[in-house]
């Protein structure tokens, strides 16, 4: 018998439901993310990809189900009662799995470096000078050392997204969530952001990425989840998902993307 030596999951989502009023958007999603793993979430528009990762980060409060992050429950079912962790624990968890958004969402009245140190100083209570030193290093890593004192308005979309990535990294996260990080970018800027994300993956950062960049997913992903109509229809390594999809909806989706 072979002993499985899989590490404990960092993130475990079970039977997650989310409805907006009468509209059931997530209908029982299961998702496991292990440390160091790069997971891609793909699927048709309106299928619930954004809702899923916003629920994981608790930007949206799920309606039912379980989310366990780093050994702690953010929400769970007990009997038939849905429990949500206290606000303080949710905030602590969020600070360890920040999110990078499609539209960057930088703080527009703050300079680049102020955007990056906001979390460390205000949430993690780091000393300002230490936070600045770290932020300068992170900005250099994403190629923005010379933009530290600029305002978001003065940057290109690609530069803004790299600031957003640096802002997430500054939290010393265990996991970073990406919601279509390149969808709002001009085509010539996409490659730069994908390179930045690849560098994170190569350093062993755990990533959950919602993306329409199928070539990128194929090269970088450890696991690809196909979500449609609020449920994960098929999951697997990228070769299987892209080259030998089992589910007919996935097959149709892959065909539509490739043409």
């Amino acid at each position: 018998m072979i002993l499985q030596t899989q590490p404990e999951p960092l993130l475990q989502v079970r039977a997650l439901h989310k409805s907006f009023g009468a509209h059931d958007v997530l209908k029982g999603v299961d998702l496991t993310v292990r440390p160091g793993e790069v997971s891609f979430v793909i699927g048709p528009s309106g299928g619930g990809k954004s809702t899923l990762i916003r629920c994981i980060n608790f930007l949206e409060t799920p309606s039912a189900g379980e989310i366990m992050f780093d050994g702690r429950h953010l929400c769970r079912e007990e009997g038939n009662v849905f429990h949500v962790a206290p606000e303080r624990e949710l905030r602590a968890a969020r600070s360890e799995m920040p999110m990078v958004f499609q539209h960057f969402n930088l703080f527009s009245h703050r300079t680049v470096i102020e955007n990056v140190i906001e979390g460390p100083v205000m949430v993690k209570r780091r000393r300002r000078d230490e936070a600045i030193a770290d932020a300068e290093r992170l900005l250099a890593e994403v190629g923005l050392a010379d933009k530290a004192d600029r305002y978001p308005d003065e940057l290109s979309g690609g530069q803004k997204q790299r600031v957003a990535i640096a802002r997430a990294l500054a939290m010393q996260p265990k996991l970073i969530l990406f919601d279509e990080p390149t969808s709002a970018l001009d085509p010539e800027l996409v490659a730069g952001i994908l390179d930045t994300i690849r560098a994170l993956a190569e350093r062993g950062m755990t990533l959950v990425v919602v993306s329409h960049e199928m070539g990128f997913a194929r090269r970088l992903a450890d696991v690809v989840h196909f979500i449609a109509d609020g449920a994960i229809v098929e999951s697997g390594p990228p070769q299987r998902i892209f080259d030998a999809p089992e589910n007919p909806r996935l097959a149709a989706f892959i065909r539509s993307i490739l043409h």
Partner: protein, 238 residues
Amino acid sequence: MYEFFFVLIPRYFPFLLEGAIVTLELSFLSMALGLVLGLAVALGRLSGRKWLEWPLAAYVEIWRDVPLIVQLLVIYFTLPSIGLFLPAFWAGVLGLALNLAAYLSEVFRAAILSIDPGQRAAGLSIGMSGFMIHRRIILPQALRIAVPTIGGYFIALLKDSSLVSFISVNELLRNGTIVISNTFKSMEVYMMVAIIYFVMSFVAARLVQHVEQRLTPRHLRRGRRSQRALASQPAVMP
């Protein structure tokens, strides 16, 4: 031809200035109170708590639908009947502030709502609390947006405060009226009063402009940048 009584000017000017000082006191105090109340009302109306939202909405609606002078009279004459004896000056401050707060709350509310909710999401997603996000992210930007409008309300207030002369506060207009009842020189006195109001408003408008400039982050100071750009532009060749 009517002869202008210039002698009146030196004799009564100090008395009018005393009134102008009361006008400034009224304006600054009711502005300060109006800002605090207005912001509180705006935050209450955006809090998502229904039991808070509708009374505040009703307050804003009622106060905007009744003429200021009527509000001042109601406050001045009803407060004593509920056992609150405010001196006329403070009744004036309260009346002006309550009126101003109704309008300013709408200014604040619009400014807060104009901030992209994505910034709130970004703050939450790195673990900031709702309070922290308001204090550090939303309000600084909203206030910056609201400043020109608030400044406009302040200048209007300098002039509207003349209405408290009706509840016998000795501010600029009322002192003018007193001078007239002693001298019967309406034209001269009203002109002096007008000039003093003009000077106060004019100075206030410049101050507001200055504050606005100071609050604009340097890269957005279009005026300055384009002035500099213009200055360095070569003269057009014929």
